[in-house]
Amino acid sequence: MREFLLGNEAIARGAWEAGVKFVSGYPGTPSTEIIETLAMRFPETNPRWSANEKVAFEEGMGAAIGGLRVLVTMKHVGLNVAADAFMVFPYSGTNGGFVVISADDPGMHSSQNEQDNRYLARVGKVPVLEPSDAQECHDFMIAGLELSEQFKSPVMLRTTTRLAHHKGLVEVGERREVEKKEFVRDAKRFSVPIYRLIRRPEVEKTLNALTDYAETCSFNRMEHNDNKSIGVVTSGIAYQYVKEVMPNAGVLRLGMTFPLPANLLREFCSQYETVYVIEEGEPFIEEYMRNLGITNLKGKEIFGLIGEYSPGRLRSALALGDPPKPFTEQVNLIPRPPMMCVGCGHRTVFAALKQLKVTVSGDIGCYTMGALPPYEAEHTTFCMGASIGVAVGLEQAGHEDTVAIIGDSTFIHSGIPPLIDAVYNKSQLTLVILDNSATGMTGSQQNPASGKNLLGEETPKLDLEAFCRATGVGSVEVVDTWQRKEIVNTIRRAIAYKGPSVVIARGPCNQLPEIKKRHVIPFIVEEELCTKCDACFKVWCPAITRTEQNFPVIAANECTSCTVCAQVCPTDAIKLAEAFA
């Protein structure tokens, strides 16, 4: 049977078929749909959202040494968070099959950097599989678990944005239950630091065995051509672009890109006059080949290092013709930047921060858009949880007016140790937690502050205010995020407070299913009272546009009844539709 599946859905399907019994991860584009699909279609795989990627990896590690087949998912930068566990797991090796997804993002469609996690795998000595289409996402998921069990090694399945977010036809199968492996208490294997000297040679033994395996495994495939002028070494989705642009070239397709097969590469390159190395991301394969002494290569110097590849880009690089450029000559191709949703509770906070003219250290979430016009009220953003540490550092550098902002999910993910540290080191930190009870940017997933888990079951809701007080923060205030005056006043009080202070701006994300479903009475503009002062436009709500007579008009089917525009109207011309009727 064939299904038309997203790369991520194909991975989920493969995991289910392979008898996976534990799945953990943290939402992150482009990996999120794997766990969402498992929750929706294959709950017997026991999927969950974890507090962060390190926790997810460690839970997966425990489940795998405990004997289950395991999948752990994260985006590329998530692996940085999990790296501590990732780097040590090969020292003990696994028991049940263990696959970790690293969803890399060439082009940085939704990420802060473009790191190529094949390098992390090399540092950790973890084998890497790179599928090239949705079918292989499915197949490599299953084969990855088998490989993991064969070599008792964790396996990285590296996807990229295009692979994860494209759909194709996938031949699917049925679930096959796999017997749980026995867990034997064995400190000499699983207590790595104490017995590290025993474990260290084992890591090299496994890696050597994997290197031999790479030479002959079916992940790597030669597609020879009679014309020996041009050969291509490629991996991942780039293989598809090569097949499209250079249908007659000889190809060595590497489905396993760590460890790399030296003999296979030498043999392939010896048969072709010129060999192109076409891989998205860093020159990971290319550098290895150059280090082998292979010289008839062309790679990054013509295809480039930065951004996503495409057939058009390959054609240009190979001088096979330049695709047409966008029409920008006579007409204005103005941008359409992303913006906060209608009724988003973050708006009032950014309006307040702008009004207070403070320095804002931001964090990862929808609220990174606070750095863009019209607010331009977020001045640093780096990585998950960095808002707090950066604010503490800025304070030490004399910028005491700094306010840190962080969402509830990001706070739970990486904001807790820096808050404890800020209190411990006597900072004057002012922290605003944007608590919308959801992991918003990736699609409003559940988290420990939402009171529900991935499967929608009730679960204890983290009491953020009690938690902050327990760290020693002296002033913790909770405020309704849609009360704009109260937001300003509360943040002002928090800044003035001597000692660390926290403001929790609370209000549910409008994208949560239960919020989307509720009945909303929209606001409308009573034109007789409207003086066209434009105050409501300064709320920057996308539901407010102009009539031909220049009156504001609120889109009734979009309005979330957040009240903010009515709060700013000096003539009370904005009213609930019901009241007007």
Binding site: H166, P311, P323, N332, L333, W540
Partner: protein, 195 residues
């Protein structure tokens, strides 16, 4: 030509992804090898959304991404987005469908003044085949302006090699019962505009 490449362009929330998916599913049902991919930025809400669909009966479809200049059709749910992706059309054999509808980017200063209101005329002056359709207006007349996407799908279906019964079956299969009747009407209205 063997591979049909289609580019769907719109603003997040307009339903360009839905009609791209309906097209892919119809192509799959009709026996074509099919690939689809969606490109969007940090937030899909209110930003540009582009969806690529490619299908082929004879050969395997390799790349899900279309190269500018090769699209058999560009389907723009909004003028500015149609213009942003118009260069993807095959200048000789391709068609650009444009919903005669403007969504002014709210967060761009003076957007109303600098918005490309003359998109249709400009693209025609470039020698391209452009079909401008009042899809939003038609959809509103049918009871819900949000069905403009399916009106455009009806128009698009008339130039694709997928049989009519497959289109209808796909729509019935994919659209929730509550919205089905309206969407079938919208689809029909789009088709009729092309006859």
């Amino acid at each position: 030509m063997n591979t049909y490449s289609l580019m769907f362009a719109g603003v997040g929330g307009q339903g360009s992804l839905l009609i791209a998916e309906l097209t892919s599913l119809a192509a799959v049902s009709a026996g074509y090898d099919t690939k689809q991919t969606e490109v969007h930025g940090v937030s899909q809400r209110g930003g540009s959304v582009e969806t690529h669909v490619r299908f082929d009966r004879v050969a395997k479809v390799h790349s899900p991404i279309i190269t500018p200049g090769e699209a058999f059709a560009v389907i723009g749910l909004e003028k500015l987005e149609a213009l942003r992706f118009a260069h993807y059309v095959d200048p000789k054999n391709g068609t650009i469908f444009i919903n005669d509808h403007e969504l002014i980017p709210a967060s761009v200063a003076d957007a109303e003044k600098i918005y490309p209101h003359e998109t249709v005329e400009y693209l025609k002056s470039m020698g391209l085949r452009v079909i401008a359709l009042p899809a939003s207006k038609l959809a509103r007349d049918l009871g819900d302006g949000r069905m403009a996407n399916v009106v455009l799908l009806g128009a698009l279906s008339t130039i694709l090699p997928i049989p009519q019964d497959v289109w209808e079956k796909t729509i019935k299969h994919r659209i929730p019962a509550k919205y089905l009747e309206g969407n079938l009407k919208a689809y029909q209205a789009g088709k009729e505009m092309m006859s």
